[in-house]
Amino acid sequence: MQSLTNRSKVVSNKTMSWSERIYLPAILAGLRITLAHFFKKKVTIQYPEQTKDHGPYFRGVHVLKRDDQGRENCTACGLCALSCPAEAITMVAAERKPGEEHLYREEKYAIEYEINMLRCIFCGFCEEACPKDAIYLTDLLPTSNYTRKKFVYTKDMLLEGIAPEDRRDVSKRRKGIREGAM
């Protein structure tokens, strides 16, 4: 049968020549290769100080967004929880009281919102399902912890701050499936 990749090699049982049998030329070739690598540019990324740039499709820890006036986008519709294949998202809805218009964009909001990072598979369906642009996946990774309980991220951990410096920029974020990935 014809090879599809052209990478396979025909095995031959030919006897080794004298220069192959004394190994030394092969050893010298090997030494030359390792010496070339010795002077090559190193690929290490010094992790805590340097981080790798993530692509716009990278799916990390979620963020709950506010609009440009600092009001929470989320209306606790539950579509994210419904779309979540891992059942990682839970929320409790509440009604906005008069005088809280500067905090919540619409009449209904999530008073509690939790994502279990041990259940989450970072598929990004929640952000795709969200009709209010309230939830996004960022390039942060969930930090390690000692207890399972600490992996349940509560609303105050997920929600971005009001102040401009506390905002999480998601303008470069690309949702869905990367072009050409399927």
Partner: protein, 344 residues
């Protein structure tokens, strides 16, 4: 009296230098390995990781020191002690520089210029196998004993070829004293190195040195894929540290022997010119520096080979030792004898 003081000082300095170089060899090994694998290597302890050996040593000391219940306590402790002691003892006969005229007498930069220096080295090197043998035996562990059996078999097999390749050098020098071997390599240009006259002997000696120090591709005694940790499976804490450390001391000493037997020791080109134009002390310092540079190159070579070549299989190792290296070294000896006869 001054001579004794000088020698004691030399011993202490040599001891410290051997330990220092061995300690930094562990660091260098990790760096070399990393560089050859396109990594950076340890760089957290101090600038570019320069304090890593200290951190490693501290870690070794802090670890729990376990002696297995069924192990022979005395031999279990004796094993690493012998390994370390024999590794350090070898440096006594290596000439680290030319003779000096101090205090009105001639002193050599060599702890003991015994006239059978090379025999002494071979003897002490063979003693080194006892450390591994006893350690593996006393551990009362199958993997340990297998590792130590491999170590002793390998050392005995390769010592023969090693000795034969040295015999050729002894024949051309006409002496067993290492200082004479080194000074005979000065030649007319400082380049009368034995490696040019004995390339085959050098190659055999080099391969045997790898086997003697249990380095890759001959590191079967501590082959972790088959034998867990080999002869030091049961060892922990600083006893393990001693075994690992003695390997590096051995590597340093082997490099020193290769450098002095085949690469002219402290001889270097334009040596006479330098000698005429500098003071005696400065000349000695330069010579020792040249010698150290040669040694460090071979230490690097040991590491370079380790991260290039995979491990031999045990039967291949035995084949190479008995069927290739030993006949070749005898052949080398015969050829050398033939040329000596021809010259006479």
């Amino acid at each position: 009296m001054e001579l004794i003081l000088f020698k004691v000082g030399l011993v202490v300095v040599l001891f410290l230098i051997s330990l220092l170089i061995a300690a930094y060899s562990t660091y260098a090994e990790r760096k070399v390995a990393a560089f050859m694998q396109d990594r950076i290597g340890p760089n957290r302890a101090g600038p570019i990781g320069i304090l890593q050996p200290l951190a490693d040593g501290l870690k070794m000391f802090m670890k729990e020191d376990i002696i297995p219940q069924n192990a022979n306590r005395f031999l279990f402790i004796l094993g690493p002690a012998i390994s370390m002691a024999t590794a350090l003892m070898t440096s006594a006969v290596i000439p680290w520089g030319p003779d000096l005229n101090l205090f009105g007498t001639t002193v050599s930069l060599q702890v003991a210029d015994i006239n059978i220096g090379i025999l002494y080295i071979m003897g002490v090197l063979s003693l080194g196998v006892y450390g591994i043998m006893i350690g593996g035996w006393a551990s009362n562990n199958k993997y340990s004993i297998l590792g130590s059996i491999r170590a002793s078999t390998q050392m005995i097999s390769y010592e023969l070829a090693m000795g034969m390749s040295i015999v050729a050098v002894i024949m051309t020098t006409g002496s067993l004293s290492i200082s004479q071997m080194v000074s005979s390599q000065e030649g007319s240009f400082g380049m009368g190195w034995n490696v040019f006259y004995q390339p085959l002997g050098f190659l055999i000696f080099l391969v045997c040195a790898f086997a003697e120090t249990n380095r890759t591709p001959f590191d079967l005694p501590e082959c972790e894929t088959e034998l867990v940790g080999g002869y030091h499976t049961e060892y922990s804490s600083m006893k393990l540290g001693f075994y690992l450390f003695s390997e590096y001391v051995n590597m340093f000493i082997s490099s020193a022997i290769i450098a002095s037997l085949f690469f002219g020791g402290y001889n270097f080109p334009y040596m006479q010119v330098v000698q005429e134009n500098t003071s005696q002390i400065l000349f000695a310092v330069i010579c020792t520096g040249v010698f150290l540079a040669k040694i460090l190159f071979f230490v690097f070579f040991f590491m370079w080979v380790r991260w290039t070549i995979p491990r031999f299989r045990f039967d291949q190792l035995m084949d190479l030792g008995w069927k290739v290296l030993l006949p070749l070294s005898i052949l080398n000896m015969l050829i050398t004898g033939f040329f000596i006869l021809l010259n006479n």
